[in-house]
Amino acid sequence: MSKNKMQVQTQSLPKSPTGIKGLDEITGGGLPKGRPTLVCGNAGCGKTLLAMEFLVRGAIEFNEPGVFMAFEETENELTTNVASLGFNLEDLTEKKMILIEHVHIERSEIEEAGEYDLEGLLIRINFAIDSIGAKRVVLDTIESLFGGLPNVLILRAELRRLFRFLKEKGVTVIITGERGDEMLTRQGLEEYVSDCVIVLDHRVTEQASTRRLRIVKYRGSSHGTNEYPFLIDETGFSVLPITSVGLTHTVSTERISSGIPRLDTMLSGKGYFRGSSILASGTAGTGKSSLAAHLTFAACKRKERVLYFALEESPSQIIRNMRSIGINQEQWVKSGLLRFHSNRPTFIGLESYLTMIHKAILDFKPEVVIVDPISSFIVGANEFEAKSMIMRLVDFLKMNNITGFFTALTGVGSEMEGLKVNVSSLIDTWLLLRDIEIGGERNRGLYILKSRGMAHSNQIREFILTDHGVELRDVYVGPDGVLTGSARTAKEAVEDSEKLLRKQEIERKQLALERKRKALDYKIKELQDEFEAESLEALKAISIDTELSKNFLQLQRDQAVSRKADTDQKHTSLK
């Protein structure tokens, strides 16, 4: 409840915050201050608890003392009943923050002899209010007067006087009333209370009980008009508008291994975030529980505690099944690191199941909680409640920095995201397991639909269950699409042989090239040799020719000398 919100509301109509989770949100700040509010509903729908929590929260959170006039239960009964919700009434009574007064009325003990009024009741309420300075009053349930006092005319006149008196007193009042057939309440109490009327409902649909709350009227204020589901657990009453879940938890940046190295790699190499919520969804037999088993194993190995809520299987069955993929969970059960809780939520109802989960978690203090499968919460048409419940569970786990791993069974043939209750917004990491049917085979594929806060792989991996756990393999992605299983193996074999052939071809070509080069080299050498031989001969011939011409000149000169010939101009110049 934010303070700003309250101030805004104060300007229009003063309101008295209830402190009840969700109720202040849908009433826009609480019940009308200084006026009576009627809370009506069938037996066992939680009227008394709502009223009591209004007083207790008022006393603890808003420092407003409250008076509880109990027409049906004694002080002791009430104290015991609400102790299960964690309210310590004895303590509050001692501190004079709460005053419980039992008003006993029994028709058979009363003889009516003449005129009377209810001044006695008014005096008692007035005295109770004044003795602790109460700002809040609960009358639970004033209809008992109709059973105890024979004269209805007097009673109705006196009730009108009572409500006028309470308004003058300026106290905020909750009046509870039993739901009537035609009217909101059996005795038409709504006729006296015109400011705010809240109807509670407890119905059973398809064997699952759900509680709902609706604000029928709220004079002078806007209010949520839907039927809101509400839960009663050990933290008290809570109405569930989606927005009321507190988003105030701090998150961890620590990463924990999923137990499958390859999956860790896909999750940017480190695995899940601690305290995050992980959902593994898929059709039957896609290996959701095996993923859970791996996480269990990894956590237990780190000496962390794991609480495993098995909604469909018995612990021994899970242990046996997981042994077949090489995961021995029994050792951890024996050493106390792993605890199983097996029962169906439909057996005890969603609320009680949530309460049970809370208790178990608070008791065992696990680091990892596994709910397998979360889709079991959904029975019949209670999707909204189931979502609310899952949301509360996720929220509770996050507040306590507990990693939550949920599996969800999706229908065959439905959309991949076709989880009946759309909880995707609550989930941090969503692993999707799919059947891939190719070539008369059914194989498993895994991919990460989303993973907040990390750069995760976008690839499909083939998911193989072996006797030493889950293995993730690259799938074959080719022109024919994704191939898995033996189709992948066959395709890989074809590719391998093609590769080999190509390799051989290359080698052959390289060899040929080499040979060619060698031949070329040889030829070059031959030509060179030839050239060298030829040039040698030519040089020889040249030198011989030179020698011969020298000899010829000499001969001429010698002849000229001998013939005493005159020196020809031409020849002289030759000298």
Partner: protein, 112 residues
Amino acid sequence: MKTTKGKAAISNHRDNPAIPNEEWILRLYVAGQSPKSITAFQNLKTICEGQLNGRYTIEVIDLLINPQLGKDDQILAIPTLIRKFPEPVKKIIGDLSNTDRVLIGLDLLPRF
């Protein structure tokens, strides 16, 4: 709180088993001097004088003066008459103008 002690009177009903031999303790709850309260007290005195041979005590409790006393006897209606003794405790509401009903309520007349 004011207490009215009944005068010892000669009994005309010695043979009636409903008439007590021990002293009765009656408590009348009122709120101030309202007409109904005054009527109730007068009616009660008349009935007691006629029926109880003076063996009775009437305590009148004004809740406007002692509001804390309303809780113990579980008072809702005003006026309320409580027969504290003899046991069992009986409770009669109203201004006691219907004498027959008062007598029935006090077990002084058999129920019919």
